[in-house]
Symmetry: D2
Subunit: 348 residues, 4 copies
């Protein structure tokens, strides 16, 4: 018998992708969707692609509406998850696709969000290598509150973590530049996100250390073993709807051949079903992970520059948001981790 | 009376852009266009956008056809310019939009191109700051052979040079990631350049120190004053036709405020008509330079990471290729440097 | 126990999409993939998105290699299917995603393809309304040879058929203009299909009655009941990878209200799981069907012009090619028609 | 000595393109730019591409600010031009890039805009063939009030007019489907115009006879000689910033060869500098007119369908809006019609 699911904030892009994935999940059944401005409207009026849910109508986002489901996914603007979650039974699995419960340090939250910290939940990145050699996955088993990671944080963390864990790269001189699709900016109507502004253009934002995924990445890399993280991080909006291509570089520590470098990633991710380390000399494209929960990673050694180049491709709404939420829920609920999650991208 | 011009290799994208700019040049008149496979065809059959040249037909690319013009622009595949140029009179201004004559060190050429070096010509980047505080422009006055820069080299060099000249950044720990439009890859029919492959995707290439613009950039930065250059350089194809957005970062040397950092760029480019240093906190978009000879540069200081972030946007076919060629020719011929060159981009 | 499947011509876009769908099919298991130029290479070297098939290698496309499978999908260039199919046992289900066996009239084939006609197979468009009120589906049950429809033919046929069947529109004055994604042109490296050529541009092709899907559409509309079909058909390549938006118009016969018009489509497709007739005043977008087997149709009446406007959106590789092939195979094999076929598009 | 120019509503896309063109106009000098929400801001903060106007700041849009210029271009939302224009001296040349003064029939205005009609000004489409064989150009000479055409109206009118004037096509059975770039929808922040919504998708709007350019097109075609116009018109937003590709079809009246058909367009536009009738069998692409004032037209005869197919490509902001405004101003002021107007598109 399926477990019952509610998705709060289902009118946004993250909420829509959660629904798209859950439509194929054999053990979870979406019963309730909530929204704010769209409450009262049919779901397909906002997500015409989601024909599987043609019978659903958005309800108001309240604890009363969400209560009584086995699993609640929250896809709310930051600052809204804590209050709702506090009113839900502890036995309900709550997965927050938003930022509220990702950070461990309240001062990080304060510095980057400027409001009071809602607290820290187990972090929904199962593949994260921990400093003791374990995986974040063990924290998620039987958890009833889970914070799904940020999309950019996922791409950068999974690209860099094996190098840090293996002592191969210097985390105090990291630089990341990300080509990101515009769905990551959400559905709010803003002039700078208009198609006329972004089509045919590459445009950076959040430059110079202000991006809110920075403390999350640093926290992840410390968990992997970095004593200190210094990280230059620049996302660039490019004319695609979905996708993140993170190009991360860091100085090589000591000496290594390209194959020795790459073998650290192979070792780290050898058993992971959603992480694919590409052959030597190959690098990922975002098209290849579109709509999937997969991460493609290419690793190279630039010997002249003394730098390791780590490039990861994800779908920001897939593995970057909704996929990680479903994957983490699968673990928490004791299901096969892959239920409902495609590994094959929609290409071309 | 106008000077007569021939464009060799006019069937490619660089050649086409040269023609588009020259159509508006008040002192230069295109009389002859040559091509290889398209010889004998009307120019507009290959470049339907170039209605100004509806009467021209491609001729064969031979020294005989090119001789007798005051100015010859070469937009040929690398390896083809030297032989042709050697057969043209020394009094003819020859501007090579290709790579053959850019590099000063024959061993750089050999290492990255694997053929014999054709020799070094004055380098067509007028705004390049030299170590003595002068500009590359002085080498171009009255020159009769000019090598126009590579497009990626232009973006990275102009982004980083003021920081190096001012002693603000460490050239031994440079990283550049470029979002590049697909016209930079040229017009050859290759599967990986198909619209179905590139639309909706971000895809790196030339990763890990193999890109041919690396020695050119290093040469430029040494000219500016860098004792040693170590540079991690990763271009990423993104779904746009034109444009390069180069995100260059390097460690800050010593201490400085963001405004002190930015003032180095303002000082360096204050008088340059084609280089626009954006206000503090603003960064460029490629759309804003499309079709123009302008370079937009934003500079920031990431204090937490200890890095200067320098972002430059150019049109790879404009300032990145054809614009630089025309600008350099203007200088060599004693014309106003701006003749025929738009400063305003075609946006949105 | 799963049935064994081979996909011939699996290196192209249609073949890749067949594999992506079959990866989720609970009753079919891909054992063999064949290709021409790529024979001997790992499948993921050509389709890096298809991680589910990381263990497969392309074999040569021969009858020997294909024999011994329960189901063979052919995704070959036209002209190649007939010879291969003739060598396969009659008991093998062969689904041809190419054009060879779609047309009923040998002279149509001759006129549009110029070669000898390979013969006619049952046509894999289950939802096609027949003149007697039945569906094409009945022809597919237990068929062992199936010709999957052309992508443009699918969009136009499904848009217009209910109007013709209901006697509402005049099939002798049809006009269709299609916005089509470039994956429909296949993976061959052609200059006019380069990203630099198609990005940012709309470009018609096959104008004026020459497109090869014209006789197929006419055949379909005759099956629905049209005595005569005259059809102006213009596909326009637009900068997207996948998708067809077919705008079909025809004169209204007699008088009707907009709701009366629309009700013909509702009646025709009421039970179809993959066809979604949108509410009055709404029209489809290709993004909403991306990666799915769904068809979204909006129907309006332009009273001033006296024309019915029928707009259909499909994914050219999904319902337009691979989806229809799998759907038809499901019917032929007695499976649930929806096995392996998503109804929800990947949007945004 | 240059004439002084003010551009009202200069913060929008049409206003920005007017400025980009006027920057190169040898006889017109922009002194004043006005805006509504952006009043008080530097022009380059809204149009970072327009470096030529780095010294300008938006002023309020009032008659006082606009008075005292020789030429005033209005790029205001519809309904705002009439009031402003009434307060400007009759000797000032006022060119309205908006809709207010295009329509001749007050009831057309009322039906499509729902407000009071502001009156009719000479129509700024110089190339429009009139029923007496003359051109619209004669009305513009010495005019002091000009209504620039709508972008879609320009594409459809110029595509179809020669066929109607020559009696070759039936204007009571016209169908037009247009692939249009999103800049035509303006700069207002609307969810359905977000890049995440439009990238990778084709989406119709204004379907079924509701589009506001319909009465303008009908008026134009009547001026050309059509006794009655019935016109099915469907614009489709496609993922490009600029450009309109209008595919217009109509039944052929009587008999004609393809060359006879095409010769009507050659005859009609033989002397026009901005209209290029392509060779037989060639059709236009929007990329080829980007940033220009050119119109590329391909004409074919679909003999099987009995239809003439007329395809026109324009830049919606160029010839579709700002280019036509400048061209018409040139005529009114007695200048060479081509001043400031590029004929060559920015491609690729």
């Amino acid at each position: 018998m399926s477990l019952s699911v509610a998705v709060a904030g289902a009118s946004g892009y993250a909420g829509g992708e959660l629904l798209r994935l859950l439509a194929h999940h054999p053990e979870l059944e979406v019963r309730t969707v909530t929204a704010h401005a769209n409450a009262g409207q049919p779901l397909v009026s906002v997500h015409p692609n989601l024909r599987s849910f043609a019978s659903l109508t958005f309800q108001e986002t309240t604890a009363e509406v969400l209560a009584g489901h086995d699993v609640v996914f929250l896809a709310l603007p930051h600052g809204h998850s804590g209050g709702i979650a506090a009113q839900l039974p502890e036995s309900t699995l709550v997965v927050d696709a938003g930022a509220d419960h990702r950070l461990e340090r309240a001062d990080d939250w304060q510095a980057f969000y400027g409001t009071e910290h809602a607290g820290t939940w187990p972090y929904g990145m199962p593949e994260l290598i921990l400093a003791d050699g374990g995986r974040q996955r063990r924290e998620l088993r039987a958890a009833r509150r889970i914070a799904a990671p940020g999309c950019n944080a996922t791409a950068v963390t999974l690209a860099a973590a094996p190098g840090i864990a293996a002592g191969l790269i210097d985390a105090t001189a990291l630089t990341s530049v990300l080509a990101v699709g515009s769905s990551g900016a959400g559905r709010a109507a803003k002039t700078q996100l208009l198609a006329a502004e972004l089509t045919g253009s590459a445009a950076p934002y959040g430059v110079g250390g202000s991006h809110r995924h920075l403390p999350e990445i640093a926290q992840n890399l410390r968990a992997v073993g970095a004593a200190e993280v210094r990280h230059s991080f620049t996302p660039v909006l490019v004319p695609m709807t979905r996708g993140i291509l993170a190009t991360v570089t860091a100085p090589l520590i000591g000496e290594a051949t390209p194959e020795q470098v790459r073998s650290a990633w192979l070792t780290a991710y050898g058993d992971e079903r959603f992480i694919h380390v590409l052959p030597t000399g190959e690098y990922p494209r975002t098209a290849d992970v579109l709509g999937s929960n997969s991460v493609h990673i290419g690793v190279g050694l630039d010997e002249a520059a003394g730098r390791v180049v780590m490039i990861a491709a994800i779908d920001n709404l897939g593995k970057g948001t909704a996929g990680a939420a479903v994957q983490s829920a699968n673990i928490a609920l004791g299901f096969d981790e892959q239920l409902g999650l495609p590994v094959d991208g929609v290409a071309p």
